[in-house]
């Protein structure tokens, strides 16, 4: 008997649950129509990814967190979304006579959205906080040229900080401060548009946890609600006095776990803007979206880097093999067939977004980066052939679908050498493991490398990656000639001089080929017919504040 009542009870619960579910489904249309109604208020509904780190200017290393910082912050300079040129934003002037001591004057009238004025203290306090070792800010190294950095943030393992403030920063008045660098660096003012250099309000220092839960900035938007991991709502900040106020009522950033779903939502009219069109959708994106599909070069270059510390690649003749391999890769074919024109074959080590004035020089790499099977085979033979007769190219298999193009690159090399075992891809399970092996010098063969610029400067493409012992010199490339030219470029007094010296340095890379330039990555985006004036900036991030909502 007892059993029978339980069964009845179970049936009852099921029935109730089903009725509830059925009622729910009838509400479904009502729910979705109210959300479309929301877009009428001028809100841009855009796809987003979960930021990897807390949203602090100097702790955000990836694009998703960077998007938010761009929406809610403005720095001393801002990169023009069209030309990538660094233009004064909060700074009224940044002057120097010797490329080492800089005098920064601020415009008055700027405030944070909580009413605090933006003063030289907002910058000095923020930069001192960002560099202190105990705060473990991932972008601390961006401040390494400021005098006193090594005291606040010693780089050696186990070292203790001996100062808490950067000695290179001196406050002159509420609207003026001076920066002294530890070396000459002509392009330093142009780096100040980067997110790590954003100012911070006092509210950050008084209650960091509360600030992280809902960051307060000085940009055209303010955060109205933030549900971590799922959604952030930003509204136009009416108190914003800058020259680039929001053209829409706000932005709703929705976290998508899969960009295919975001694309489907765009098709179904639930989303207005997708800034990462999935590869699987590329064949039909033109017919789906027409001219609402954007595909423009971004400041990202992909390369294959060589571990020059390994005996396999350190011999004098190995550079010939590397040049040969570079000539054995059919860049054009791969960008067309695998990437469907969302990559542009690379002919130098920078990116087209810099523009000719910024240091991009098409064809700088010349023959060495042009597909030429006969010459490639000759060069590899002259260099003594592939070390051990075969090579592998390592990549991380967890994200980014690198397998396809690595296989294509190897295929291209194998065809040239007439040996289908000469090159094979070597997948590594996770990005973390991949990075560890690179950092710990455990790779003996080439590996995929990518570089996304921090700021649109030729310096940022060359120095961090190829200068001796630089922070991202994964190849551990070291060339006295290259280093000398880079130092000269940094010491130049005009930026045109600086750029041309950097290009001279870049020519050394053609000879040594520490990394093979493959292609420049494009940013791709799709948007709904609700929006107009949508564009991607040089970082391939949508220029949200200029988007107009119908």
């Amino acid at each position: 008997m007892r059993g029978a009542t339980r069964v009845k009870w179970a049936v009852g619960v099921t029935a109730v649950a089903l009725t509830a579910a059925a009622c729910g489904s009838s509400n479904d249309s009502g729910g979705s129509s109210s959300s479309t109604g929301g877009s009428g208020g001028g809100i841009v509904r855009a796809s987003w990814g979960d930021p990897q780190n807390p949203l602090e200017p100097a702790d955000t290393t990836e694009v998703q967190g960077g998007k938010v910082l761009d929406l809610i912050f403005r720095g001393l300079k801002k990169y023009n979304p069209k030309t990538a040129k660094a233009e004064n934003m909060i700074a009224s002037s940044i002057t120097s006579t010797d490329s080492q001591n800089f005098d920064i004057k601020l415009k008055s009238g700027w405030t944070f959205s909580n009413g605090e004025p933006v003063t030289s203290d907002s910058f000095i306090n923020a930069w001192n906080f960002d560099t202190q070792l105990k705060n473990s800010q991932l972008n601390a190294s961006f401040f390494q040229y400021i005098d006193g950095y090594d005291k606040v943030h010693p780089d050696a393992t186990g070292a203790k900080a001996t100062a808490t403030t950067l000695s290179g920063l001196t406050k002159v008045s509420a609207t003026e401060f001076k920066v002294r660098l530890n070396q000459k660096f002509a392009l330093f003012p142009d780096t100040l548009g980067y997110a790590a250099f954003y100012p911070l309000p006092q509210a950050f220092f008084t209650n960091r946890k509360a600030w992280e839960a809902k960051p307060i900035g000085n940009g055209p938007y303010l955060i109205s609600s933030y549900a971590k991991g799922s959604k952030m709502q930003l509204q136009k900040w009416n108190g914003y006095k800058g020259p680039d106020p929001a053209q829409n009522g706000g932005v709703e950033l929705r976290v998508y776990t899969d960009n295919n779903t975001a694309y489907t939502d765009l098709q179904a009219g639930n989303l207005d803007l997708v800034d990462d069109v999935p590869v699987a959708q590329l064949p039909n994106v033109k017919s789906d979206l027409g001219n609402r599909y954007i595909n423009v070069p971004a400041g990202i270059i992909q390369t294959i880097a060589f571990p020059l510390y390994s005996s396999r690649w350190s011999s004098a003749n190995a550079a010939k093999v590397r040049q040969g391999l570079s000539m054995a890769i059919d860049r054009k074919g791969i960008t067309q067939q695998i990437f469907r024109q969302t990559r542009t074959p690379a002919t130098d080590w920078t990116s087209p977004v810099l523009g000719a004035a910024g240091g991009f020089k098409a064809g700088l790499c010349g023959d060495e980066c042009t597909f030429n099977p006969t010459k490639a085979k000759q060069l590899i033979a002259q260099g003594g052939g592939l070390p051990g007769g075969k090579i592998t190219i390592s990549y991380n298999a967890d994200t980014g679908s690198h397998k396809e193009w690595i296989d294509a690159v190897c295929n291209s090399i194998n065809n040239v050498l007439g040996n289908n075992k000469a090159c094979v891809g070597a997948p590594i399970g996770t990005f973390a493991d991949f990075r560890n092996r690179i950092t710990n010098k455990q790779l003996n063969d080439p590996f995929r490398a990518g570089w996304q610029m921090d700021y649109p400067l030729i310096q940022d493409f060359l120095q961090p990656q190829y200068f001796t012992d630089a922070s991202s010199n994964d190849s551990h490339y070291s060339s006295p000639t290259f280093d000398k030219l880079v130092n000269e470029a940094n010491a130049a007094t005009s930026s045109a001089d600086s750029v041309s010296k950097f290009q001279d340095a870049e020519r050394q890379l053609v000879i040594d080929m520490p990394a093979i330039p493959l292609w420049y990555q494009n940013g791709s985006a799709g948007f709904s017919s609700n929006l107009s004036n949508v564009a991607l900036n040089p970082f391939s991030v949508p220029v949200y504040n200029e988007i107009k909502v119908k």
Binding site: G24, A262, N270, F431, D433, T439, D474
Partner: protein, 307 residues
């Protein structure tokens, strides 16, 4: 019965400790997470060392495990890299996945058992063959295929539902994802029920019940179904844990921010506290579901006694 339950609960302790240690060990074996935090930039040794010290990554594995377990018993499941506490991640993820699982289980129970009874009673008839073929198709098509197809069909083409689920994930938005999640298990439930029913229709006690002249619905529900449900209940019980942990594919397709999503993120970013925390809870769900299943046997079959 009371002693049985206590013994079962005590048995859970070593299982719990063993499984959490294994998970801890596996995540640890994935390697050092610190380098990946910096993206393509190599970390400077001082910052990396500072982060390692904060996360106890320099300690030997057993010590890390002890620290972790000590924290768990004080209710501290650690922090994800984005600064959010794992406990709050669980607070947002588990309710969503539980709702999704409930929808899926209801589909399994209602449709699966109904189809199973129908086909079991009409063995060899066209209905039976048809349903068998259908379940075969469902089992052989991967979940992500059915997921994307149904999402496109109902979400974009017909516009009946939204292709993605909102962060709040109410029941009505979870019907389609729940169905997709349930489909494969549903097919198994149908087949299990069918076999079980088909076997029991020939049992002596059923012939007796028919001979006694009991009404047909009473024979089916009280006598036939109740006895045939034991293997089905076992399956559904273990399936609860399986569905909650295995919802990664479905949650990804429909953009549901549940347990599967958090686990995926945790593994991708090598975040041991997230992965171990979530799996620890899933282990508990498995254990409790199994206990409940074992206790349910007695309800279904009074001959089963616990000692």
């Amino acid at each position: 019965m009371g002693r049985y339950v206590i013994r079962r609960l005590l048995q859970m302790i070593p299982v719990f400790i063993g499984s959490t240690f294994l998970i801890f060990f596996m995540v640890y074996a994935l390697g050092d997470p610190v380098a990946a935090l910096f993206g393509d930039r190599a970390p400077d040794p001082a910052t990396a060392a500072q982060i390692r010290a904060d996360l106890h990554l320099n300690d030997p594995l057993w010590k890390q495990y002890l620290i972790y377990m000590r924290n768990i018993f004080t209710g501290d499941f650690g922090t994800a890299f984005n600064g959010q506490s794992v406990l709050s991640l669980m607070g947002s993820a588990f309710p969503v996945t539980i709702r999704l699982t409930v929808v899926a289980i209801i589909f399994e129970i209602v449709i699966g058992i109904a189809l199973g009874v129908l086909t079991g009673m009409k063995r060899g008839k066209p209905v039976d063959t048809g349903v068998l073929l259908l379940t075969l198709v469902v089992i052989s098509v991967p979940t992500f295929v059915t997921g994307y197809v149904l999402q496109y069909l109902f979400g974009v083409q017909l516009g009946w539902t939204s292709p993605s689920v909102s962060p709040e994930a109410p029941f009505d938005e979870l019907i389609l994802p729940g169905l997709v999640l349930a489909l494969v298990s549903l097919a198994y439930v149908t087949r299990l029920t069918r076999t079980s029913i088909a076997e029991n229709t020939r049992a002596d006690y059923l012939r007796t019940a028919v001979a006694k002249g009991l009404p047909r619905h009473r024979i089916i529900i009280r006598h036939l179904l109740r006895n045939s449900l034991i293997p089905v209940v076992t399956f559904i019980g273990t399936d609860i844990g399986f569905l909650m942990g295995g919802a990664i594919v479905t949650e990804r397709i429909f953009n549901i921010h549940g347990v599967g999503f958090q686990l995926y993120q945790g593994i991708l970013r090598n975040n041991a506290p997230t992965v171990v925390g979530f799996v620890t809870i899933l282990v508990l769900v498995f254990l409790i579901a199994n206990l409940l299943v074992d206790l349910l046997y007695a309800v279904l079959d009074p001959r089963i006694r616990y000692a």
